[in-house]
Symmetry: C2
Subunit: 146 residues, 2 copies
DNA sequence: TATTGTTATACTCTATAACTATA
DNA sequence: TATAGTTATAGAGTATAACAATA
């Protein structure tokens, strides 16, 4: 079977549509818990890496330190994180999850599993799809010089 | 081959990574032409549907009419579109592409083709990937009630 | 001197509500 | 009375630059 440019373009369109819908789905689910995508990403990082300096968060999320100040302000005001003094560097603060923050991350983990099942459980040729996705990811990473 | 929850979750992670990178790639390419994703989406709509009222643009993009005012303001100031009086309804304005706007859309079309080739030209089992993607898209559309 | 985080400022995208001109 | 678009206002996310405290 030959692969026409038209076939490739319409597949790209479907990939872009999936991308858009994943974003909408995440935005909707997170809004129910009082979170946004950037705030949830920040919590997710702390959940996996442990209490982190704002500097580390800025690098991990590839945004400016000033941006992190704003995200942490919002998350702290809503009770998802606390700022603690860094034990050895008095310039730095450690951002940690509260109980509520930890509970939200547990919920996110369950949502992630539910979404994976929804998308893939009834997919016949999962192997081939996964392999194709890996190829696409590699091509994108190369193109963006990663 | 059995499909474990772990396999499905890590494939979802790769899909989310692709989604993020596509967004970054688009943001970067568009920035070079002085455009953002929302502004390019608006131009893309006019490019395909022809001169449109702001009302129609708001519905197509699923954003508020006020939001369209801002996007059109920016695009008009940068020379991508013009506001023309509607021929029969003096309340409405028709937003049309300028030559520059048309040229940008031609470039976007070429970029789209280039990206499709980059991602899929060397992909072995393109058919299976495309089929899987269609399944994923259908599941997402259902879940979001479309 | 270099680094951490904040204050000051500004831009884009988004929304709702009130208002004007027109249908 | 309803619709098209704007003014007014607000909030989130993003950025750079200047600055204070500390390393």
């Amino acid at each position: 079977m030959v692969k026409s440019l038209h076939d490739m373009e319409s597949t790209l369109d479907r990939l872009l549509a999936v991308s858009l819908l994943l974003n909408e789905d995440a935005t909707q689910s997170l809004a129910k818990e009082g979170l946004s995508i950037p705030r949830a990403q920040l919590l997710w990082h702390i959940h996996h890496q442990g209490p982190s300096t704002q500097r580390a968060l800025a690098e991990a999320m590839r945004v400016s330190p000033r941006n992190i100040t704003g995200l942490v302000d919002g998350l702290a005001a809503a009770g998802f994180v606390t700022r603690e003094p860094h034990p050895t560097d008095r310039r730095a603060t450690l951002v940690s999850l509260t109980e509520r923050g930890t509970a939200s991350m547990a919920q996110m983990t369950r949502d992630h599993q539910g979404l994976a099942r929804l998308l893939f459980e009834q997919l016949d040729d999962f192997e081939a799809f996964a392999a194709g996705l890996t190829h696409v990811l590699n091509q994108l990473n190369e193109a963006l010089g990663r």
